[in-house]
């Protein structure tokens, strides 16, 4: 069984009981703090460093060849917990030779940033790696309509990300070599 030990506190000396030496020590500390380096970030001029896996505003990205990656499968729309995403499916525009294996493309893609909760499920569920939550964290607008990001805005925010698969290129070569995909 644990033994309780009562610590004997030494009685305070006279100078300790006036608290004045302690106050002087405190004053020294605050005074030396005045000359330390400041931690303030001058925000609009200086921006914080955003870590790699940051979940910012969801965006649509293109592959390094500048092609639209989204195939309008609507999985993100389905998984989105606050129902912020709305996709109007459409077909791939005619005459785009290198995308002929893709069947669909979004005609319109809207993410309502007033609903979005930045959970990142859309990024997780996307089979084409077309939607990413990137480092943009500050979105503002004057009206509710402005806060709905349309397809054009989403691509503008997203830009191009490196692709390690080129899924549809692989499928094309596979077919050309006579393999089923």
């Amino acid at each position: 069984m644990a033994k309780t030990v009562v610590l004997q506190r030494k009685p305070l000396s006279l100078s300790e009981r006036t608290y004045l030496p302690q106050i002087v020590t405190g004053l020294k500390t605050t005074f030396s703090n005045m000359f330390k380096e400041k931690v303030t970030l001058q925000y609009p001029e200086e921006k914080p460093i955003i870590p790699k896996n940051y979940r910012g505003v969801p965006t649509l990205v293109k592959d390094p060849n500048g092609r639209e990656k989204c195939v309008s499968c609507q999985l993100c729309e389905f998984v989105c917990p606050p129902k912020a995403i709305r996709i109007t499916p459409g077909s791939v525009p005619e005459g785009e030779e290198d995308r002929e294996h893709v069947e669909k493309a979004p005609q319109e893609f809207e993410i309502n940033m007033l609903r979005c909760i930045y959970c990142g499920y859309c990024q997780e569920v996307c089979p084409e790696e077309a939607i990413y939550l990137q480092d943009e964290y500050s979105s503002s607008g004057y009206t509710r309509e402005e806060m709905i990001n349309n397809k054009e805005k989403l691509y503008e925010l997203g830009g191009t990300l490196p692709d390690s698969h080129y899924k549809w290129d692989q499928k094309k070569t596979a077919e050309e070599q006579g393999n089923d995909h």
Binding site: L27, F31, K36, T40
Partner: protein
Amino acid sequence: MFDFDMLLMVGLKFLFALLMIGAVMTMAGYSVLAERKVSAWMQGRVGPNRTVLPFIVHIPFVGKFLKGLGMFQPLADGLKFLFKEEMIPGHVNKLYYNLAPIVALVPALTTMTVLPFGEFFAEDGRTIPLMLANLEVGILFVLAVSSLGVYGIVLAGWSSNSKYPFLGGIRSSAQMISYELAMGLSLLPIFLWVSEPGTGAMGLSLVDIVNSQNDRAWLLLVQPLSALIFLIALFAETNRLPFDMPESETDLVGGFHTEYGGFKFGIFFVAEYAHIVVGSAIFTVIFLGGWHFLPWIADPWPATWVGTLLGIGWFLAKTIFLIFFFIWVRWTIPRFRYDQVMNLGWTKLLPLALLNLIFYVLLVTWLDQPTA
């Protein structure tokens, strides 16, 4: 018939009074800035550094430097208070609610009338102290009027008709009564010492106290205990941390000014800082040798207008250091609990001040006994 000399004298006095008010109010305004800046520096922040006048910012180096120091922040703060909506809550006693800020500000500004801040060397060899009114009982006047400031707080707390301001008002009056005694008692040995035969000073005049410290030891060095008690009581009287009972924003929301907003709150705010400015000046006058140079060293400046200006500058430097000290202490020590404040005032400071008085009475009597 017009008496032109009379008119001129009154006019000059009026002008001096305006200048003095301008100086103290400016210092109060910049104390607010200093408070924000110093607190920021002590906490590793930068403080206000955005406000600037449009034409100043284009001056190379200087404009940027002033902007970084936040030199125009008091202007912005003042204008903000001026243009805010004047709200009067429905449940207050309107007359006293409106009266309270004035009652708080007036004593703070009145004490400065007897405050000497320099000396002017007249051509006929006389030295004239620079002050608005050279009262023989200067320090009595200061003690009497400065404690009237509490009425503003009590009035604000009572007329707001709300629990937090009420508690703030009660605490303020209790604190003021407790520390007033120690403050007065701590000053008595000073006057005993100064009025010692042979020094020439025989009254309660602030000018005589300053001059008694010329090329001799400052009274801070002669009577450190009196200075300490006076300083602690000064902190309590100006409602500064660690004694800011009436405000104590953590437990009383905003204390006595919870129900105030806009310009009326601004007046309370300025009054608090005016108290600090005047309190620092009084401490400088009594314990730090006023406009005289260092202890035991005669004033190095000539007895002309240059000396007058340098003396005033030196006085201001000491006062500003004390204001800095007030701010420094505020951001170092946490607030006392209410009962601790009362305990410290009644059971520590008051007996200490009494013992101090008795000690100096005996000492001065022993020193003064005629050498047989």
